[in-house]
Each structure stands twice: as structure tokens, then as C-alpha cells.
């Protein structure tokens, strides 16, 4: 695989949640002194832009395939911290089957789902977590389904996994949950942390409005550890 030495600083949109989430993941791994044992598999969506962002081994996979890739990676390298970093589409739409199976099998990987309720990179189509009534590129009259609650669904399949949901505007809690999740995988369990995130570009919002919207999402997507 060609190594690209010329990397841009940050490729994400201004105000994107990915930046905070990835930086928090990095801080946690550095703090635990486990960054050199970690590997991050990325979905193909906006998450792919993180491929050269962090001083941690990172590789793109395919859309919906970060989870099965990290299942294989972890099995090949059992002392690693295998992280599947994906959006809501990669996790709950095209990749749902693999996610449920990794949970069912209790594969000791950490899945981070960045949930911004929209397909960002392809220009704002409906996501499995889009809200009822949300206007998107493929639901111009408003979406007519209820959003998928991924962590809750996964909990049905696995009682011992570490499962939590937080938000990009709660970085301290995010760091705490990620640390616990990593420890859970080291103890041999599946871990899922969903992080509600901003997409100012496709939400067509900026700054305060975008943060208010993020907080409003918490009415639908309950934050906290899911027991």
C-alpha cells in the first residue's frame, strides 16, 4: 500500500464531529500508552478522511465492512486493540448484518459509530438513524420511518458487551466511555460506542444552531451506558 507522506492537516468540514471524536480516541489511546497496539479500520464515508490523520495505524476498508475486517484483524493479532470506525450507514445499513454477528459472537473489537443521522459524503441521503420527518436528498418530503437504535438492538444480542452512547459535545464522557470500552475488549468482550455527531454541511446549520440540534437528538437517542 503506498504511503502518502504529503498529508493535509484536516480534511473534514468545519464543525464536523469526526474531528473531536478522533482526537479523543487518540488522546485516550496515548494516555493508556496503547496507541502502538491499536489499529483503526475505517468505513467508506466521511470516516475515510481519517486515514492519515492520527499517529495510529489506520486503514480504509469498504463501506459497511470495517467490522468484519477488524474481526479478522483481531483474530490475527490478538493483543491488538482493533477499532472499527464507521458512520451510521456503514454500521446500521449496509454493515448491519456484520455488526450484529460480531456482537453475537462477542468478537473483542471496539466499534465506534459516528451517528449524524445522514449520509454525509454522498451528499445528504437518508440514513438508518434519520428521524421521522427529516428532509434528506432521498426523502425530500420528509423521512417516514423511525430511526434505528443500534446500541439497544445490539444489547439484545449480547448481554456482556460494553455498549454506550454519547455525543461529540461531551468529550470528557466520550473519553471515559472509550477507555472503558477498550478495557472491555481487552477482557475479551465486544464493545460498541455510538457517538452523536454534527454534520453542519448536510444539516445546513452552523455553530450554535448545529449544537442545539445535536442536543435535541439526545431526546431520541438516549445517552449513557446501555446496560
Amino acid at each position: 500500500m503506498p504511503k502518502n507522506k504529503k498529508t493535509k492537516s484536516i480534511a473534514f468540514c468545519p464543525g464536523c464531529g469526526h474531528i473531536i471524536i478522533l482526537q479523543t480516541l487518540n488522546r485516550v489511546l496515548q494516555k493508556l500508552q496503547k496507541a502502538d497496539r491499536a489499529a483503526i479500520g475505517l468505513d467508506i464515508g466521511c470516516s475515510l478522511l481519517a486515514w492519515d490523520m492520527l499517529p495510529i495505524s489506520t486503514f480504509q476498508t469498504h463501506h459497511g465492512r470495517a467490522v468484519p475486517t477488524m474481526v479478522g484483524f483481531e483474530k490475527a493479532r490478538e493483543k491488538s486493540i482493533a477499532v472499527a470506525y464507521t458512520g451510521d450507514g456503514g454500521a446500521y445499513s449496509i454493515g448491519l448484518q456484520s455488526l450484529l454477528w460480531a456482537a453475537r459472537r462477542n468478537n473483542p473489537i471496539l466499534v465506534i459509530v459516528v451517528n449524524n443521522t445522514i449520509y454525509g459524503m454522498t451528499g445528504g441521503q437518508t440514513a438508518p438513524t434519520s428521524l421521522r420527518g427529516q428532509v434528506t436528498d432521498t426523502a425530500p418530503a420528509g423521512h417516514d420511518e423511525l430511526p434505528m437504535l443500534g446500541p439497544e438492538l445490539v444489547r439484545e444480542l449480547n448481554g456482556q458487551a460494553y455498549i454506550a452512547r454519547t455525543a461529540a459535545n461531551e468529550p470528557v464522557i466520550l473519553a471515559e466511555y472509550l477507555e472503558r470500552a477498550i478495557k472491555a475488549t481487552e477482557a475479551g468482550n465486544f464493545a460498541l460506542v455510538e457517538v452523536l455527531s454534527y454534520c453542519p454541511t448536510n444539516w445546513r446549520m452552523k455553530g450554535v444552531e448545529s449544537n442545539n440540534h445535536l442536543n435535541k437528538l439526545k431526546d431520541t437517542f438516549k445517552t449513557g451506558e446501555i446496560l
Binding site: 480534511a11 468540514c13 468545519p14 466521511c46 478522511l49 454525509g120 459524503m121 454541511t201 448536510n202
Partner: protein, 163 residues
């Protein structure tokens, strides 16, 4: 007669709006027009390119590497179109117009319209269309926006100056 115009800028600088107005004007003038955009993967912040061709005959292929007119609106765009410079006819480089733009108090969001003025002058001189044709297309797209007065000023200033 045939002209190849490559417009390049950062996403958000209005490259696609600009090309839309030019295409609209050419179409209204009964000419053949071809347009294809090119973006990076990022939704924001990447380079936005528009390949525009205006002709009296059907256009075979949307892309070209030898623009008659190359507009560069940002540093990033300049990097991205490095290889086109040698093969370009006229190059409109934003750095050469910073002074004029600030002297005429053209605001940031109207800069693309300033360059529209410049490009229109070229199209008029080369006989592709009349100034009004472009102005009509501009009006259709932007007259209802709050920035209209600034846009008129930007257009007129650009047209006056020409390349």
C-alpha cells in the same frame, strides 16, 4: 467558434454558481454548451472545478487540458491546476486582482461575480454573446438574493476592467 473555460476555486467560492450563469447565458443565446464539475472527496474545503465549453457545434467531450481561459480563485486551486497553466490561453489569477477587488470594495461573497464580469468581457470581445445575455442570466439566478446590489457592482467592475 469554440471556447474552453476552466474555473477553479475552493468549494464554497461559487465556482459552480459562476459556471451555471455562464452556461445559462450561452444556452439562452442558442449556442451549444457543455459543463462538467469536478470535486474532491470532501464535502467542503476541497477544490471545485468547472469545465465549460461554448461552441457553435456540438461538443464531443466534456473535459480538456488546454483551456482558452483559466480562472484561479484560490491558492489550493492554483496548486490543483498547475499542469494546466502551461497549456492555457489566458490565465485569470486571483492574486493579480486583490488590489482592484479591495479598492472597489467588492465583498468576499461577490468575488466570483467580479470574475464573471471579467470572463463576460472576453466572451463579448470574442463574439460569443452580448453583455446583456450574461446579465440576464445573472439576474435570474441572483436578483432575489440580499447581496444583489453588491453583485451588480462586482459584475460591472469586472466587466469594465476586462483581462
Amino acid at each position: 467558434m469554440h471556447i474552453k473555460i476552466l474555473l477553479a476555486g475552493d468549494g464554497g467560492q461559487g465556482i459552480q454558481s459562476l459556471s451555471g450563469i455562464i452556461c445559462r447565458a450561452a444556452f439562452a443565446n442558442g449556442l451549444f454548451v457543455s459543463h462538467i464539475p469536478n470535486y474532491g472527496l470532501e464535502q467542503r474545503g476541497g477544490v471545485s472545478l468547472a469545465y465549460v465549453q461554448i461552441s457553435d457545434r456540438e461538443v464531443s467531450y466534456p473535459k480538456f487540458s488546454d483551456p482558452d481561459l483559466l480562472l484561479i480563485m484560490s491558492e489550493q486551486a492554483s496548486q490543483r491546476t498547475r499542469e494546466y497553466r502551461a497549456k492555457s490561453g489566458k490565465v485569470i489569477d486571483f492574486t493579480k486582482y486583490e488590489k482592484i477587488i479591495s479598492e472597489n470594495k467588492i465583498d468576499y461573497s461577490s468575488r466570483n461575480i467580479f470574475f464573471l464580469g471579467l470572463i463576460t468581457k472576453v466572451l463579448v470581445i470574442r463574439g460569443f454573446m452580448e453583455k446583456d445575455c450574461v446579465f440576464e442570466a445573472l439576474k435570474e439566478k441572483l436578483a432575489k438574493k440580499s447581496n444583489w446590489e453588491n453583485n451588480i457592482k462586482a459584475f460591472e467592475t469586472g466587466f469594465q476592467i476586462g483581462v
